[in-house]
Structures are given as structure tokens and as C-alpha cells.
Symmetry: C2
Subunit: 121 residues, 2 copies
């Protein structure tokens, strides 16, 4: 029951593509991540995933198009939909994620950047 300052929490994260857990709400967790470059194509078969852009511009690639998500915007990727988050021109983008604790980082694929644990900060 303490206020959590998002930018203070980001200062504890240095790596990109490695979500850190800042809170839980029922069976969902709230994650912060730094994104830079292109991630890996994947889907979460059983869980939706919400991205909120807090800084920068996120390019959420779907197989048939790319949705641009700017600062102050959110996007929900429904379960089962292949997606690949990306940033452009070397920009580091700060996002907050809301998803079930059961959600695997890279869903149905395994990548060198796949994380199986999200540090609590």
C-alpha cells in the first residue's frame, strides 16, 4: 500500500528486453521493461498482454501490419496473436506491462533473450 514511482523503478533496470516486476494485482503482475531494437516473434496462447508506453515510440509488429504506440498510449495484444515489439533508430522505449503471472516471456518460442524469471524491484 505504498506509492510506486515508475521512473525511480526504471533507474534500477539497465538491461533491455528484461521485464522487472514492480507489483501484483490478483493473478496479474505489473512489469517494467526497457525495449531497444527488435524482439522475437512469438504468441501467448492463453494470455492477453497489455503494453503501456511511458517513453518513446513502440512499433508493435503483427504479421499483417504494424501498430505504432506512442507515449501515453496502450495496446492490448490478444492471446494467440503473433507479435514482435520493436523500436526504431536505436531509441530506448520504456513500457509497463500487465499480464498474467503464467505468461511466458517469449510465449511459444525460445530465444537467447528469453527470461524465465522477472526480478522484483
Amino acid at each position: 500500500m505504498i506509492a510506486i514511482n515508475l521512473m525511480e523503478k526504471y533507474s534500477l533496470i539497465s538491461e533491455t528486453w528484461h521485464p522487472h516486476q514492480i507489483a501484483r494485482v490478483d493473478d496479474m503482475h505489473v512489469l517494467l521493461a526497457r525495449l531497444k531494437g527488435e524482439f522475437v516473434w512469438h504468441a501467448h496462447e492463453e494470455e492477453d498482454e497489455l503494453f503501456q508506453v511511458l517513453q518513446g515510440t513502440l512499433y508493435m509488429q503483427f504479421r499483417d501490419r504494424t501498430e505504432v504506440v506512442r507515449e501515453g498510449e496502450i495496446i492490448v495484444v490478444p492471446r494467440g496473436i503473433e507479435h514482435c515489439p520493436a523500436t526504431k533508430d536505436g531509441e530506448e522505449v520504456l513500457v509497463m506491462l500487465f499480464e498474467k503471472q503464467s505468461t511466458a516471456h517469449t510465449g511459444n518460442v525460445l530465444d537467447a533473450r528469453t527470461q524465465t524469471e522477472y526480478p522484483k524491484i
Copy 2:
């Protein structure tokens, strides 16, 4: 799979203390609300509730203390904990809420401002 701009959505809301639904993530929904003045003391026996302050300063009153939640901060009110959100000096505060769809607006109490439906915008 569309970017949702939070400030554009707020422009569709005029009343205070009336959450509007902008998205769903699994069994949670994402709500926007304008808060002004003091709400009603209540608790949600079965659900946690996340508040993110997007503009202004929220005073989350608990029975034994008040937590100040500023712009860029979140707070999670755990299930069963009595709380009463408030703003000061007539400030209108913009919040985003994440909570289960089963969460009753004013939990275990009924108030003149209790809403049973959250418009989708």
C-alpha cells in the same frame, strides 16, 4: 490491436467518479476515471485494485494513514482493505484503474455515486 490514446479517451468523460472501460486484459478491465473531492469508504473483499495516477495528486486514505500518489506513480490496494480515494483543493485527478471485471465500484457499501455499469469508450 489498436493503440489507445489515454488523453483522447479522457476527453470523452465528463463526470467525476464514474469509471469508463477502455480495454480488457483477460478477466481484468482497464478503466479511466476523473476524481475530484472525496469518494466513499469501501473495500473489495475479493479483488485487488491498481490505481495509476496520470495527472494530479491522489490521496489514498486508509484507516490508519494516507498515501500520497503522484503523477507517474501507481498504488495497489489489496483485497479487503478499506480505502477512500480523495483529491485536494478541488483538483481533478486522472487515474487509470486495473481490476477484475467482478469488482464492485464501491465494494461492500452503496453510495449515491455507486455505478453498476462502466461505459465502454
